[in-house]
Amino acid sequence: MGSSYLLSLENVTKSYVVGGFYSRRVINAVEEVSFKLPQEPIVTALVGESGSGKTTIARIILGLIKPTSGKVLYKGRDVFEILKENSLWYRKEVQAIFQDPYEVYNPFYRVDRVLKVAIKKFNLAQDEREATELINQALEAVGLRPQDVLGRYPHQLSGGERQRLMLARAFLIKPRLIVADEPVSMIDVSLKAIFLEHLKLFKEKFGISCIYITHDLNTANYVADNVVVLNYGRVVEIGEMSTIVNKPLHPYTALLINSILLPDPKARSSARSSFRVSESTLRELRPRVGCVYQQRCPKAMDKCFKERPPLVEVQKDHFVACFLYQ
């Protein structure tokens, strides 16, 4: 069965039992999350603070953890079904770039291995010579010189080099979709820019879609076409990046955008005066009833403490979960 969507999440929930010494309770790291990626190449940003469940979503899409309920469909088929039948095909189609560019390398092996394993597993080359050629091509494509990185152990490379090597790996595999979980949060400013440029290039040149996960709306705005805003495991707003940056609807999205630091000393005063955070509670517990954002929301109404607002389409392709817009 074909589908008009590349990937769609339908009411995905992942709950964990957290065991304290004295008590146990269930929390939903991700709760009823639904969003869709179109077939055409696109970068979608998944934005949220720590505890928003964005990494959990990445892991569910990659098939690393199973959702408690709900479905993830890739080209119309359930991802966990595909993984059972033909996991290699799915792996070739959907790839990952992880946050920590050091942890992702097995310290026992030279860094080349991540490329070689990919070539071998996905049958990318017929023989050794072709493999070497592919590797060199991939490295050059991301601006690395083969002699600088090949044969090295992970600790001998800088964070930027290691993360670019991951880009080279993605280039090698040329998947249909890359799930990139905070890929630039641990590398330097000057290398961040290079990395982001490449993600854009992959989309334009090779038609690779990307789910870009971050807490930083600034870089998200730079690479992404669409954005999904998460708060405490729930989707609060979905829409086009430019629309949302210019006119955020959900108060939480507005707070995130207000929090962005502008690299412009002259814009300082205006930003400062418009920024207010109310912190009424000490321990930020995720609310079990009502809107997840009720505690910090300056516009919270009675209703917000009683019911979870559903995600509704307020304009074309612009969804928001807030009682202010129902």
């Binding site: 990659l62 790839q95 097995n106």
Partner: protein, 298 residues
């Protein structure tokens, strides 16, 4: 993937580099190797010295003979050759230690791996069992079994020791597998399409060698420790003159009064075995646990 001979050579080079870098490891390996060599050449040395007679044969010499060229450490109350028995005891003690250490480590690796990798109910059951095993003093139970099951040979006592000493190692291995399992490179391996078994053998196991060696040395020490203790209270297989037996023999034979240095020699051999194994242990931990690195000082 790398070719196998290359990998073995690489591993060898890796270990020699490791050895060169750590003083404790170097000293430990040196002492332990020397003791092993002693244990290996024991049959030849004793044959050379005593002909076809075993050093623990009763009536080899007179009772309480003083040291002489034939009996460098004198004889026991029953005329057995103490020097020869020291070498033989070292050999037997080491064999028991190694045998039971290897078996215990094998059990520990297997159970630790299954427990951590599979998780769930199996893990829960195994973990509770191991925890209870560590809290309950198992040594007296071991003593009772060893005392009542009289016909214990070398193999039997080693297996029995192994049965009682895999708990600690299993715990370490389980914890290590758990932490390795959470590492991001395992996720990358999964995303790269590697299978469960490939991941265990190519991603987890290579990072694991040091912990297996640490578990092994720990288990060896545990086994020798328990066996010697058992012999000291006069129990255990009477036909196996291990170092513990010899220590008991010299202590109960009154050597502390007449020739205390004989007791000192026997004790020293045991101490060297423990010390060298432990130096190897600490050295390895320092090299592989960055948090621990160099903090043991020295």
């Amino acid at each position: 993937m790398d070719k196998l001979p290359g990998r073995i050579a690489g591993t060898f080079k890796y270990f020699s580099k490791l050895l060169a870098g750590n003083k404790k490891l170097k000293v430990g390996v040196a002492i332990f190797t020397t003791i092993i060599v002693l244990a290996i050449i024991e049959p030849y040395v004793n044959r050379l010295r005593l002909g076809n007679r075993s050093p623990d044969e009763i009536g080899l010499g007179g009772s309480y003979e003083p040291p002489s060229p034939r009996f460098p450490l004198g004889t026991c109350p029953w005329g057995r050759d103490i020097f020869g028995m020291l070498l033989l005891g070292t050999r037997l003690t080491l064999v028991i230690g190694l045998l039971s250490g290897i078996v215990a480590t094998a059990i520990a690796v297997l159970l630790g791996f299954i427990s951590a990798y599979k998780g769930g109910l199996i893990d829960h059951a195994l973990r509770s069992f191991i925890d209870a095993f560590l809290v309950i003093p198992t040594w007296p139970i071991f003593v009772i079994i060893a005392a009542y099951v009289k016909i214990l040979g070398l193999i039997e006592i080693s297996l029995l020791l192994a049965l009682f000493s895999w708990g600690g190692a299993a715990r370490i291995i389980r914890a290590q597998v758990l932490s390795l399992k959470e590492r991001e490179f395992i996720n990358l391996a999964i995303v790269s399409g590697m299978r469960d078994l490939e991941i265990i053998f190519f991603e987890i196991l290579p990072n694991f060698a040091p912990y297996i060696i640490i578990s092994l040395t720990n288990a060896i020490m545990g086994a020798i420790f328990a066996e010697t203790g058992l012999r000291l209270i006069g129990l255990g297989p009477p036909l196996l003159p291990t170092l513990g037996y010899l220590l008991n023999l010299t202590l109960s034979g009154g050597f502390l009064t007449i020739r205390p240095y004989v007791v000192a020699f026997v004790s020293a051999m045991l101490i060297l075995i423990f010390l060298s194994l432990n130096l190897i242990n600490i050295g390895l931990e320092e090299e592989f646990n960055p948090r621990l690195k160099k903090v043991t000082g020295l």
